[in-house]
């Protein structure tokens, strides 16, 4: 994991190395100051040497200024290194995600990817900065101050050393124990919040069944439980501060007593005693800091792991070595195709599919939810790879083509389609960056999108909000179809892409397809029989196998499922709302 992450430091290696150096210099200067202080007391005040006070004072001031400089530099380079590291992480992840296949994306989920690119990166940025600055500063202060203490009086320094060991152990025990309780408490806390969330979104159900009191009871019990758990964890943490105070105080008492005796015995000076007391604070504070830094770093481990998952993920669909850049025509054939999303699951999503579709044909696909309609078509543009058998386009296996070539020739209008923030023109030109305004408008005319676009105040320059929230479902679908048409593909796949478009417009779009792009092979997945019944042939899918393949009339005569669906839908569109939606 460290290696993967470390590789992303790249051009910020220099800054990452310089930062700790400055931090160390700052610490050294800081630890020298109390020593010089001792000299002012001993050789200045006690010896009655005013000049010495001035000279040493000047040196101290210089040390403080140099320390200031180092601190500022450390802060500057630390900021550069950590934000740069974060930038590289984001970039590397984003780059790798661009190579992800659909199954890679499914594996992480959209929300998972977003968290990794945002929150997790911020966590690591903070952790890295802490690593470069605090993680250097605290232990180094401890070491320097300890060394100084030994330099002044090895005998008294032993007290510090043992105090550090004792306090270190106590802090470790407290931290580990408290952490254990927190680990138990946090999921419960999340559960509690999840139940609030449930109540908020299901408030109608709660109220309709008059279950307010029941929910209150449940919540109060859970809330009390959480109170107990956090109380337990925090009670352990409550030992932190007193333990630290007790250690420091014991040290001060011991040093005062032994130091006084040594001064009287002339083996220590007053100034040295004072600087020793000041090192005591330095040492204990940095120990405390170290334990805090440690806890914070462990919290970022989970983020680091998640980021590494993305960085090390390799796409399972890659370009072949000597790819074909030319697709002969829009013919499609499936030969003994078996496919499953999860390679370890036994039941395939599609099994032993055999199909042969001629170039230019219009094919309807129909079947219930879970009958694998979407899976079937996603194999054609190699969004997923088959497990067994092969899919061919233009007479050649899809796996032999260059991926970009294949996907440019096989346009898919996905079921969960997305428009991006930008003007309508911007969105349309996803299909063809060089399309003229003329071509864009033509594509919209084919997709019956021109009528509503013309009615918008800014027409084709209308700005689409993120996620296309300012156009209706039906309008969005038509824009997506137009966008795909601009690719001028050899094969066009519509995955339930007109479900929110009313029946009349749906028919108009299909008519335009037949007249304007007769050479393009068209695959249309639909819930409505009316959307497919005029297709050249119709595939009826059921549980991942082809139940029927033929014309409307043939299927009506021979296929039970088709007849069932047909009968349940005859008499109208089957849905009252749709006309009003678009």
């Amino acid at each position: 994991m460290l290696k993967t992450l470390g590789a992303q430091i790249k051009e910020f290696k220099k800054d990452s190395l310089i930062t700790p150096v400055f931090m160390m210099l700052e610490v050294i200067m800081e630890t020298i100051i109390p020593l010089m202080m001792a000299s002012i007391i001993d050789d200045g005040v006690e010896a009655g040497n005013l000049r010495h006070i001035y000279v040493t004072g000047a040196f101290m001031a210089a040390a403080a200024c140099f320390s200031l400089f180092c601190g500022v530099m450390g802060g500057k380079f630390g900021a550069k290194a950590s934000t740069g590291f974060a930038r590289n992480l984001r970039k590397a992840m984003y780059e790798n995600i661009q190579t992800f296949s659909f199954s890679n994306i499914d594996k992480f989920s959209t929300a998972g990817l977003v968290t990794r690119l945002t929150t997790d990166v911020t966590n690591l940025q903070n952790a890295y900065q802490m690593l470069l600055r605090m993680c250097v500063r605290s232990p180094f202060t401890l070491i320097c101050a300890m060394a100084m203490a030994f330099f002044i009086s090895p005998k008294l320094a032993v007290i510090y050393l043992s105090a550090v060991i004792v306090l270190g152990t106590i802090l470790a025990v407290i931290t580990v124990n408290a952490h254990r309780y927190f680990l138990q408490a946090f999921p419960k806390y999340d559960d509690l919040n999840a139940s609030v969330q449930e109540n908020v979104s299901a408030i109608r159900v709660v109220k309709a069944y008059v279950r307010e009191d029941y929910e209150k009871q449940k919540f109060t019990a859970a809330s009390q439980n959480i109170y107990r758990m956090f109380q337990k964890a925090e009670n352990i943490l409550a030992f932190n501060n007193p333990a630290m105070m007790l250690t420091v105080y014991s040290c001060i008492i011991a040093i005062s007593w032994l130091g006084a005796k040594m001064i009287v015995g002339s083996t220590l000076s007053t100034g040295e005693l004072m600087s020793l007391l000041s090192y005591c604070m330095n040492i204990m504070m940095s120990l405390m800091m170290l334990s805090m830094v440690f806890v914070m770093l462990t919290m970022s481990i989970a983020s680091a792991e998640r980021i590494c998952e993305v960085l090390t993920e390799t796409s399972d669909i890659v370009n072949p070595e000597n790819p074909e850049y030319e697709i002969a025509d829009g013919s499609i054939s499936f030969s003994h195709v078996t496919f499953r999303y999860n390679k370890t699951s036994a039941a395939p999503v599609l099994s032993d599919i055999n199909l042969s579709i001629k170039s230019g044909e219009t094919i309807g696909i129909i079947g219930g939810t879970g009958s694998s309609k979407s899976s079937l078509v996603s194999l054609i543009s190699r969004l997923y790879d088959v497990d067994e058998g092969s899919v061919s386009v233009g007479g050649k296996d899809v796996r032999s083509y260059d991926l970009d070539t294949l996907r440019n020739e096989v346009a898919v209008v996905l079921q969960n389609n997305v428009l991006f923030s930008g003007t309508i023109y911007d969105n349309l030109r996803w299909g063809d960056p060089n399309a003229t305004d003329e071509e864009c408008r033509h594509a919209c005319a084919l997709a019956c999108a021109d009528e509503f676009i013309e009615r918008l105040p800014d027409k084709y320059h209308t700005y689409i909000e993120q996620g296309g929230t300012n156009v209706s479902g039906g309008q969005k679908q038509r824009l997506c179809i137009a966008r795909a048409l601009l690719k001028k593909p050899k094969i066009l796949i519509l995955d339930d892409s007109t479900s929110a478009v009313d029946t009349a417009t749906d028919a108009k779009i299909r008519k335009a397809f037949a007249e304007e792009i007769p050479g393009t092979t068209k695959l249309i997945i639909a819930q409505r029989i009316s959307s497919v019944q005029n297709a050249d042939r119709i595939i009826v899918l059921n549980n991942g196998v082809i139940d029927g393949f033929g014309t409307h009339e043939e299927l009506l005569a021979q296929n039970e499922i088709y007849r069932d669906v047909y009968e349940s839908q005859t008499g109208g569109s089957g849905d009252f709302d749709e006309g009003g939606v678009s």
Binding site: T99, T110, T118, Q197, V205, E234, T503
Partner: protein, 644 residues
Amino acid sequence: MPAGTQTAKPIHGPGARGPRGPRPKVNHPERLLLRLLQKILKNYGAACVVVVLCIVISVLANVQGTLFMQTLIDDYILPLTRQANPDFSGLAHAISRVACFYAVGAAAAYLQTRILVNVSQGTLRNLRNEMFLHMEELPVRYFDTHSHGDIMSTYTNDIDTLRMMISQSIPQFLNSIITIVSVFVSMLRLNIPLTLITLAMIGVTLFSTKKIGSLSAKYFIEQQKSLAAVNGHIEEMMNGQKVVKVFTHEEKSLEDFNRLNDHLYESAKNANTFGNILMPVNAQIGNISYVLCAIAGGILALNGVGGFTLGGLASFLTFNKSFSQPINQLSMQLNNIVMALAGSERIFRLLDEKPETDNGYVTLVCAKKENGVLTETEERTGLWAWKHIHQADGSVDYVELKGDVVFDDVDFGYNPDKTVLHNVDLYATPGQKIAFVGSTGAGKTTITNLINRFYDIQDGKIRYDGININKIKKADLRHSLGIVLQDTHLFTATVMENIRYGKLDATDEEVIAAAKLANADAFIQQLPDGYQTLLTGDGANLSQGQRQLLAIARAAIADPPVLILDEATSSIDTRTEKIVQDGMDKLMAGRTTFVIAHRLSTVKNSDCIIVLEQGRVIERGNHDQLIAAKGKYYQLYTGNLAET
């Protein structure tokens, strides 16, 4: 929060409130603070007094320890060095006294944190409970008009910042103030000129903090902006990543991202630099203050000006160090307190929301019929009656619960100035099935909000078995109605418990019977643990159709005389739909039912079909009548609707 839970449940609200950056603005912080303190003191008044005492004790113990250095050097070490046979017994005595003070200080510190755990966690628990208990009483309107994310963030973010405030910011703030005062007094007593030097350097620190703060504000705002831009882009592109693949748009997407990412790097670098600089700058100004005092104090002690001694210098220098730290921290603690107050403002806003009012007095009771006369009874007879106590003379009437619903010239709007339903009249006799059809936004769903009084009508009357529903106690009214909503909501619990939600004292057998009635039994049996299968995340592991079936079963077990069904529109395939429809049909048998219809099969056999458009009833009648009329219904039905 442990980072590990973030992917699973992104419900921690909008994390936009960063730890640094400009201080949030709050109106009347003193009022909020006062109100919050009242909440805390109400239950933990004595504890808070003890905490404050403990803080004072531990600070004073520390201060006397520092002052002891003067005594140690001036009264013991220096005199002892001059003695031939030093006698350490006086020193031993003095040191043990200091040790006692220290011990008391440490004990007080422990007591303080220990009590604070109870105060902070206890207050949070009380607040959380108060919020939830209050929230459950709020009208549905509240949930419809407030974003669920915002409500949630009150429970998560705002409560979390409040915890920080009660357990850390406020005690630390008190600690800082007490430390500053006591250290300042001690310094004044030790030496006035040196105190002035220290104060002057504090002035420099405050100035530099302010300067750096105002310089960095610009960069922090810029960082916030570019971070928002990058996060927005990430969110959009990750959502559309599959489309990016399909359109081979990877290069372009990367290009855009790199531009934003580089920009974020620049602004984050600047903001962080300033953030990092503040601490060393303040620390070193503190060191310079220390150095100046050392030099000046050295000179003073050397010349013995004003009786200033070496021991005094030693103590003073230690005070000098412990003076700047609390002052530097004050502003941070104040920031945290203000931030938490902003959170508590949102908490109080929730607590101040007006709960649902209920002036109903007609209740639902079990009844039995003897010689045609209804009387109230304790036992469950299966026969229910409305108990109507007349306000005028106190006489009691019993009306049998039948499910007779009348809308009389009803007007309604979610906002008073925008009427959604106009002059709606309708009449449903017991056992009838009334279907509402019309395009989206016609006001169909609104009607379901009125019968059970999720919202109150503005004009007209709704009568239930002849009684104005405003007179019926809401709980009893809702008990007599069953609702199956379009978006089914299931709870984190077993399948069994989810169905039992409709009737808490139902036996397992009753639950299974209800599931069978709703056609849900078959799929439940196939779940890994059958009826004991745990559902999480609103039944995320079930299909839309299956969730719908559970919701039907839940309504079935409640066995209400009147049903309101909002059919699911989302793409359940035709075959599952058939099963769901069948379940609904069985449920509807013998009950007055209002159906928000989306499918043909539901409508065809309704007793009455009501066609709504823009909040008005434009057609009514049964299927055949409406088809014959060739109006809007005919258009909807045949699907020959021109696009609107």
